[in-house]
Amino acid sequence: MRNLSANTALVNHYIQRIYQATLEPDLIYDLVDDLRRDIDAPYGAFQVENITTHRMESGFLMNYDQKAIDEYARYYIELDPWTAAGFRNILSHFSASHKLLADKEYCHSEFYRDWGRVNDVRYAIGSGFDMENGSLFKVSFQRHACQPAFDEDIENFLNILHPHLTHFVQLSTVFSDQAGNASLWLNTLDTMARPIWILNRDLRMIYYNACAEEWMSNGHVLSSKYGHLRATNAQQQQMLMQLVSQTADILDFDISKKTRQKNYWRHHRVVLGHHDQLENFWLSPFATHEPLNNENLVLMTGRKPIPDTTQLTNSYGLTNRQAQLCALLMEGRALSEASQHLNISINTVRNVLAACFHKLGVKNQSELIQLLFNGM
């Protein structure tokens, strides 16, 4: 007996994740995967069906055959009061839209086969229907009639999660339009190789990207404590605080004064770290906006790291040798040094370099280096 339902930490963990997923519906995939693993429900024996988004207008409906669709609709209309009202009105779209699809791959997937066989589903919870957007969210843990029952423990466990998943289904439609494209930019910032922090005057970190997190976990120059940015020693901490505060002050200037315009884009340098490892960071005024609590915020960025060769081969389609050479050039080495380092003759280095130029369409080393740094 695993005693899942008695494991409060696990239950709370899932409840928390369910509510997180409310804001980012994509998270539900991972959640359900993990859940399936935890209740040990292999495909075929017990099926835990993931959430699916059926967009009625654009025909994002799984490619069921007509019989399966009728069964599916019947099930929801007769058994699930929550969606019943919605389906009655839109049933005509529902059966028409499946014809738009011609995805054979899905037809052969486990999802399809399980659905198509028998539809006497024991567990199917949290279906939701949003008339305005024409979308349906469904999370269901289901077991077919011909299969043995879940353990009592698992049933209890699922029963605890049931109301929360229902909340998820109801709320995810409320929040679904929020996701939009802005989250794409968040992704973009996270893929940037350069660390980015957004700080307030107290050095509280309002935002930092994945690279900044890496910097802080190394802890050489900066670290984080209770959501605040920390420098290595008290003296630097004070200096950083002072500079951040000064930079934040720039935002307070009257717009009509010319000083603001001039100072606005100005970057202020701050040098942090130990004697043997000094790093430049740049501070600039960021924003004072209502969504950001009307605080004066400061943007802090650090240098770009030298990428490793696999990164270069992946991003620019360079060969291994070419990537090695490029990495050395980005470090600021001359060709002669590179030839020693790579243990090849200077002429070979030149040949490799020429291949890089050709591949990336640049004509000298400076342009190459610029391109590589800008692409990060």
Partner: protein, 305 residues
């Protein structure tokens, strides 16, 4: 209940609609007036109290909710003492729902804030950024890209569809190449009005890409296109601070770091070739480097966002 949940989210402003939420809640428990505040103390210093709240403090139901580090106060006022008791009971029944709603609202606000920041950072970046779907429809872009999209620019934008002006199939081909190669991104250099323009196309959702196989109709592909002109010099104030240079020196260095010859730099900046040489020599000595490529590497690594 769903109305209450809906009311925490206003799509236009992107912030929870507290007024709608509180009004709904007040209506539900039968209160006449309701005030709310985000301050840790109640009554908050800046909130104007409605007259009934001040005069009839006996019939005020105060509720404090603490979600994360934020505390939210509600003060419901009742003219009728019977309703007061009823309100209390009703509030107790919706308590858990209110808790959930508040938690989500705070979470939603935090997410909005992050997205806002991301958008602002992207606006500030020195390179053009575009997000596109697999058909080349532009989803979002920053201002750097605008001049290239305008009439006579390198790209044109028809019905929000990105087109390269002298080869309409360009984007399709790029996507195809990206899919064929096993790399994360693909880099091309284009020439426009004698300027080199680098375009780097990458899959914006590499994590979700794998999922597409599993859930074919769920996620669309999204791509990120980075565009920048090879002749944009780094900012001068940054160079001045980094190497303690005068404005003139920094100007020369900024153009020189692009890989231009000394003659070209002289042309761009209006100084004589000899002046350019002497500044560069001086700088090389202080930085103890010997080559233009080394200068470029040092400058571009440090270039701020």
């Amino acid at each position: 209940m769903l109305n209450m949940m809906r009311s925490i989210n206003l799509q236009q402003t992107g912030r929870p609609n507290w007024e709608a939420f509180v009004a709904y809640l007040a209506n539900y428990i039968g209160a006449e007036h309701c005030n709310y505040s985000f301050h840790s103390e109640f009554p908050p210093p800046n909130l104007e109290m409605t007259s009934s709240l001040e005069s009839n403090s006996a019939n005020i139901l105060k509720v404090q909710h603490i979600v994360d580090d934020k505390s939210l106060w509600f003060a419901f006022s009742f003219t009728n003492p019977c309703l007061y008791r009823l309100g209390q009971e009703r509030l107790a029944t919706v308590e858990s729902c209110v808790e959930t709603v508040l938690q989500l609202a705070v979470e939603s606000e935090r997410k909005q804030c992050r997205q806002h920041i991301a958008k602002m950072c992207v606006e500030r970046a020195q390179i053009g950024l575009l997000t596109l779907d697999e058909k080349g429809t532009i989803l979002d872009r920053n201002h750097i890209i605008e001049p290239l999209l305008h009439e006579g620019g390198m790209f044109s934008c028809q019905q929000n569809q990105l087109l390269l002006n002298n080869s309409p199939k360009w984007f399709e081909n790029q996507i195809e190449q990206l899919e064929l190669s096993e790399h994360d991104s693909i880099c091309t250099t284009l020439k426009w009005q004698n300027k080199l323009i680098h375009c780097i196309l990458s899959n914006a959702l590499p994590r979700i890409k794998q999922r597409v196989v599993m859930y074919p109709h769920h996620q669309k592909q999204q791509f990120l296109l980075m565009v920048y002109m090879a002749d944009t010099p780094p900012s001068i104030t940054f160079l001045q601070q980094l190497y303690s240079l005068s404005e003139a020196e920094a100007l020369i260095v900024s153009w020189f770091s692009l890989g231009l010859s000394a003659e070209h730099v002289a042309e761009k900046t209006g100084y004589t070739v000899n002046t350019v040489y002497s500044y560069i020599k001086k700088l090389y000595a202080t930085m103890s480097i010997h080559k233009q490529s080394q200068l470029t590497a040092l400058v571009w690594q440090q270039q701020p966002l």
